[in-house]
Each structure stands twice: as C-alpha cells, then as structure tokens.
C-alpha cells in the first residue's frame, strides 16, 4: 500500500469519526466514491485555514493515521476501504455502502455470489434445503454468502465447505469478535476456504442494530438472496426486504411463504420468486445469473 493510499484512507477514517454535518457512514462512503478521494471531500468540508493552522479536525486526522497504520500492520485481519480497488464492485452499488470492510481470507472485487439465509431455529427440512441449495451453488461455482448464525446459516456454510466451495461469512460484530462463541471453528474454516467480512470496527460487540446493517451488506455483495426458512421476526426478513430495495432478486421457498405473513406480502413485489423445491431454486438462480451476464441494453428503432 502506497503512502498516498494510506493518507487517503486515514482521511476517510477521520471523516467517519468526525461525521461532519451529521453525515452517516454510507453517505460519507458514497461521497468519497463519487470523488474517488477522501481528501477531496475533506478539503470541501474543511477548507485550509489562511494562517496554515489546522483546527481540532487535524488532530483527528493524525490520530486516524495512527489507527490506520495499526490496522494495516495487523496480521489478524485486512482492512479494505471503499477507495480500494479490492473493494467488491457489487457492494459499491447499494446506497448503504460500508466505507470500511475488515476481512480474513480472500475477498474478491468481482465474483458471482448468492446469499443463503434463514432462521436460527430451523427445522430439519429447512437445514436440508439450505445444504442442498448451497451444494447447488457450489456446483455452479457460485460463492455462498451467509451470516454465520446457528441454524440455516451454519447449514449453508457447512455444506459449502464440505462440497469444496467458496463460503463468505458476513458478520454482525467486529472482525475480532466471534458471535455466537460456539461458532469459532466455523469462522476459522470459512475464512480459510473463502472470506470472513465485517463492516464494523474490529472490536465492535454484537448489537441489535448491527445485524440489519449486516444483512444489507450481505444483500449488496450478492447477485440474489435465497431465504430458506424464516420466522415472522427473523433477520432473513430484513435481508429480503432490503434486497428488493436494492433491486437484487429474492428467492423465497414455499416454507417461508406458507409460514410467514411477511413472506405472503413480499411475494408480489418486484424481483421476488417463490420456489417449491431445491431444483426450482436452482432454476431461478440459473436464470438470474444468465440475465446478469447478458446486459441486453435497449436500443430505439
């Protein structure tokens, strides 16, 4: 990493800490992505003082330089900012762009990935479907995104690992935390075979508001989301909703549609498909991949 990039990234971190004009993190990320530069945004917000003396924000920037150096020196994780060429292109397209991603393993800027998500309290049938869908994705060389929770998430990750596929775990805590603690080994295996991704500061504990943000990120990383089995208040419900709002297709199994009101309501929304079998889920996914690969842009005659 060049010194220029380190300075840019430290400036981005300083902006995230200062949150000028009450800007949110995704808003800062979007403005920085528009300019291809954090210092350009910084200079607009904090014009250089005539006497050359900086204000308290310059202190924040030096502190940010220090933190950034520590992060990049860590052997425990990598940090990728929205300014980095390694940042996933699909994720840069949604409005909740996480400005920073902390990763273990290999995150790829361009890849075909699909989320497989669902409830923690899954039935055997749900677990079986999750594993079958994950295996179907691995057969197609599609990366399997999930959230490392118990239940459906674990079944999807486990099946992906067993089939020799590429799992990516998108977590709702800092990269240095493991939640739930019992899934420590799974975290390690997912990072080794694919990647572990967190959008939160490295030490961030599990917090209620973090998980919906995590679901938005997971939706953004993928081409589509498959909701295998979910309850009325499952986090998968949030992922399905935000995916529709991102314009990313959602596949609901008929389990979800039959057993939840939100599944009933969502089935009529744009880009939502209902599948009665694993084979049908895979047929829908095949079609989604096909459409994504052939832009077929319109021309007037």
């Amino acid at each position: 990493m060049t010194e220029h990039n380190a300075h840019e990234n430290a400036t981005l971190l300083a902006l995230l800490r200062l949150r000028p004009n009450s800007m949110g993190w995704p808003e800062i990320a979007a403005e920085v992505a528009l300019r291809g530069s954090a210092t350009a945004l910084w200079d607009e917000i904090y014009p250089a003082a005539l006497d050359g003396m900086g204000g308290s924000e310059d202190t924040t920037r030096s502190e940010a330089e220090h933190t950034w150096t520590q992060w990049t020196a860590s052997s425990d994780f990598d940090v990728i900012s929205v300014l980095d060429d390694r940042y996933p292109v699909a994720l840069k397209q949604i409005h909740q762009i996480p400005p920073l991603l902390f990763t273990r393993g290999e995150l790829r800027p361009i890849e075909t990935a699909v989320s497989v998500v669902g409830s923690r309290d899954a039935t055997n049938e749900g677990l079986r479907i999750a594993a079958n869908v994950a295996r179907g994705l691995v057969d197609r060389h599609i990366t399997v995104l999930s959230g490392l929770a118990t239940g459906i998430d674990t079944a999807a990750h486990r099946a992906t690992l067993d089939a020799g596929g590429r799992p990516v775990g998108v977590i709702g805590t800092g990269i240095l935390r493991t939640y739930p603690a019992a899934s420590k080994d799974l975290h390690r295996e997912v990072a080794a075979a694919g990647a572990l991704v967190s959008q939160f500061l490295p030490d961030a504990p599990p917090q209620k508001h973090s998980f919906p943000m995590r679901n938005a990120t997971m939706s953004g990383l993928g081409l589509a989301s498959v909701v295998v089995e979910a309850g009325e208040h499952s986090g998968a419900r949030i992922q399905a909703r935000v995916a529709v709002e991102h314009g990313r297709p959602v596949v609901l199994t008929d389990l979800v549609v039959q057993r939840t009101q939100w599944g009933q309501a969502l089935r009529d929304r744009p880009g939502v498909f209902v599948a009665a079998s694993t084979a049908e889920v895979m047929r829908i996914i095949d079609r989604i991949v096909e459409v994504a690969e052939e832009p077929a842009l319109p021309v007037l005659h």
Partner: protein, 257 residues
C-alpha cells in the same frame, strides 16, 4: 418470444421496481409542472416563480422520483460520477431501460397532450466539472434516442446566475439549425430546479421550435425538505410500474398503446 419492450419491462422491474417510484400528479399534492411535493399550492415555489418567463416547456414529464440517501438517489448520482467504471455501467443500465421504456410507452402520451408528434430529441449535458461527452448524452446516443448533431452544448463564454433560466446557458451545434414549427423533446437525467433544462427550452424556441416537451428520468427529492418525509411515506409506497402514465399520473391519455 417476448418482444423487446416486454423483455426490457421485465428486466427493469426485476432490477429496479423495488426502489423506483412512479410520479404522482394530483393538484395541491404535487407541483403541476415538475411533480415535486407541494403543500396545497398548484406549483412549487421555483416553478411558480419561473412561470412568467416566456418560452418555457409546454410540459415537463419526470418518469420517477430520485430520493436522496436511498437507492434511487444513489443510482442517479453514481451512474455518471462513481470512480468505478463497473458501478457506473450497472447504474447506467437501469437509467437506459427507464428512459427507453419512458419513450416507447409514453412519448405518445406527451404527443397527445402537445398535439404534435415529436420531430427531434435533444439530451441535456451537465454544465461543469466533466471533460468530454457527458454520460447522459452518451447514454441517450447509445440507445438511438438522440443524434450526434444537432446537439446542445453548454456555453462557457456567457455568465448567468446559478438558478437563472436563460437561453444563454447553451448553444446549438450547428448553430444554423432550424426547428421551425417542430415539437422537440428534451431528455434530462435529474430535475432538481429545472433551470438548466428550461434554459434549453428557451434556446430551442429561439431556433423556431413551436412546442418543447421535457422528459426527465427523475425528479430529485430531499427527504429533509418541508413535509417530504411524510409524502414519501404516505404516497410513495408502491413499487414502480412502467405502464403507469407519467403524463397523467394514472392511465395513458387515449388512444393508448
């Protein structure tokens, strides 16, 4: 085999129907000109102020609302300026489908109201900060919506207020072009105040255009302004339907397609 229009409709709905929103046309609810929310008035403050200027467009037709800090706002901003080429391309595809469907499904609705078929279309380039051809002009050319010439060129040899509506903002190339008696349609990406687009309308009138209509891909909305939050929550809940007429706010004026 689905027709190209059916195919593009399906693709747009799947890829963007969940966040794009049809515009609302209701007196006292949205501006009769630009469709931004109003608080009981016929027109918004800006359109009402400009209304006395002779030569404005006959009709302004935004196809959707672009809401700041949401996916629609993100698409309308990043498509032209994101540092990543792939991000620009992905958002451009959505805008291109939207504009294509706006033209094939609703240009005739505009013609119906104006009373004359569209003779020529122009695309609005952005004023500043960009070298070369503007992304929106490129998009409009790539889809055959506009010709390479004649075209609108932003002028750098004149001065005017930031929000001033004046023909001096643009020039036509070639300058000798005549549009006598024609209905010309201006295509624009995002309508914020409309001063640039209306300025182009004045210029096209100077070249003889009898009718000027404007089709804008989006009407920009700031959720933090006035009661916009309530408007967005109460009125913009429905997913985007490309067949919903942006001219009437409901069904297309007869004869429909």
């Amino acid at each position: 085999m689905a027709s190209p229009i059916e195919q593009q409709t399906r693709r747009l709905v799947v890829a963007a129907g969940g966040y794009l929103r049809n515009i609302i046309r209701e007196s006292g609810i949205t501006c009769a000109t630009c469709t931004t929310p109003v608080d009981g008035y016929t027109r918004c403050w800006r359109c009402n102020n400009d209304a006395a200027i002779p030569g404005l467009a006959d009709i302004v037709v935004p196809l959707t609302y672009a809401i700041a800090h949401t996916q629609s706002g993100q698409v309308m901003r990043q498509y032209k300026d994101d540092a990543s080429q792939q991000v620009r391309a992905a958002h451009t595809a959505v805008i291109r489908r939207l504009l294509y469907l706006g033209i094939v499904k609703h240009e005739q609705c505009i013609e119906q109201i104006v009373g004359k078929p569209v003779g020529r279309r122009f695309a609005i380039p952005s004023s500043t900060g960009r070298a070369g051809v503007h992304p929106f002009v490129t998009l409009a050319r790539d889809m055959n919506a506009v010709d390479e010439d004649p075209q609108l060129i932003p002028r750098t040899d004149t001065s005017f207020g930031e929000r001033e509506v004046t023909a001096a903002r643009f020039t036509l190339s070639p300058t000798s072009i005549r549009l006598d008696g024609q209905h010309v349609m201006i295509l624009d990406d995002t309508w914020t105040t409309g001063s640039r687009t209306q300025s182009a309308a004045l210029l096209l009138r100077q070249h003889g255009a009898a009718h000027v209509s404007i089709m804008a891909v989006s009407r920009w909305i700031e959720p933090g302004f006035g009661d916009n939050k309530t408007f967005i929550r109460q009125r913009l809940g429905n997913d985007f339907n490309p067949d919903h007429c942006p001219v009437t706010g409901s069904t297309c004026p007869a004869p429909g397609r």
